[in-house]
């Protein structure tokens, strides 16, 4: 399984755009890149998934360069409710979650 590296924590002000980058140098050909959000005492919630280039949905965008060795989750105009832990996962099945990035939004 491909290993991922992401920042342990990040702070941002309300209304800003937040970009969280994840490195996955050993990504395999059939691996997808998936991001989850987790609030305290809750299960992770799927945010977005992609294979290459750019994916956008109603809550986030995912940018994946051509070599797929990294990816960037972009959260537009964050609010206090976006304070959570964000996990980057790479794989196809039996996904393993690392410690994630603890994002704190400051009023």
């Amino acid at each position: 399984l491909a290993k991922t590296t992401q920042p342990i924590s990040m702070d941002s002000y309300e209304g800003q755009e937040v970009n969280i980058t994840c490195s996955h140098n050993n990504i395999a050909t059939n691996d997808y890149i998936t991001w989850y959000q987790q609030f305290p005492s809750q299960g992770p919630r799927f945010i977005i998934q992609g294979y290459k280039t750019k994916v956008t949905n109603e809550v986030a965008s995912l940018f994946i360069p051509a070599d797929r060795k990294s990816s960037t989750l972009s959260l537009p105009r964050v609010s206090l409710s976006d304070t959570a832990v964000y996990y980057c996962l790479v794989g196809y099945e039996k996904l393993t979650f690392g410690t994630g990035t603890r994002l704190t939004i400051i009023p």
């Binding site: 997808y32 998936t34 005492s41 299960g43 992770p44 998934q49 099945e93 039996k94 393993t96 410690t99």
Partner: protein
């Protein structure tokens, strides 16, 4: 729509006691089912993985076992709990292939005392 139910929400058990956590999925057939554990301040550790009835893969050697007696039922068990079994246990499901991710249950907070 698909839903996943996990219970109980919280549990306090003494060391050496047995454990049974249940997870059921509705609205889908033949899902892949997963048990994860999250220690305080840590990431999620995959414990067990099942692609069908009676088919269980153990990812980490431990004091726990899992069973899948029905297509949409996944049970996590232990004969004798250890203090180190404390944690937040999460059940999840997915469909095979490009599945747009896992759907997690609400979790069980287990404290072994």
């Amino acid at each position: 729509s698909q839903t996943i139910h996990q219970w109980p929400a919280t549990l306090v058990q003494p060391v050496g006691s047995p454990l049974s956590l249940e997870c059921t999925v509705e609205g889908t057939s033949n899902p892949n089912l997963y048990w994860y554990r999250q220690a305080a301040g840590r990431g999620l550790q995959l414990l067990f993985y099942s692609v069908g009835i009676g088919q269980i893969s153990s990812e980490v050697p431990q004091n726990l076992s899992a069973s899948r007696p029905q297509d949409r039922q996944f049970i996590l068990s232990s004969k004798k709990l250890l203090l180190s079994d404390s944690g937040f246990y999460l059940c999840a499901w997915s469909v095979g292939g490009f599945d747009y991710g896992y759907t997690f249950g609400s979790g069980t907070r287990l404290t072994v005392v």
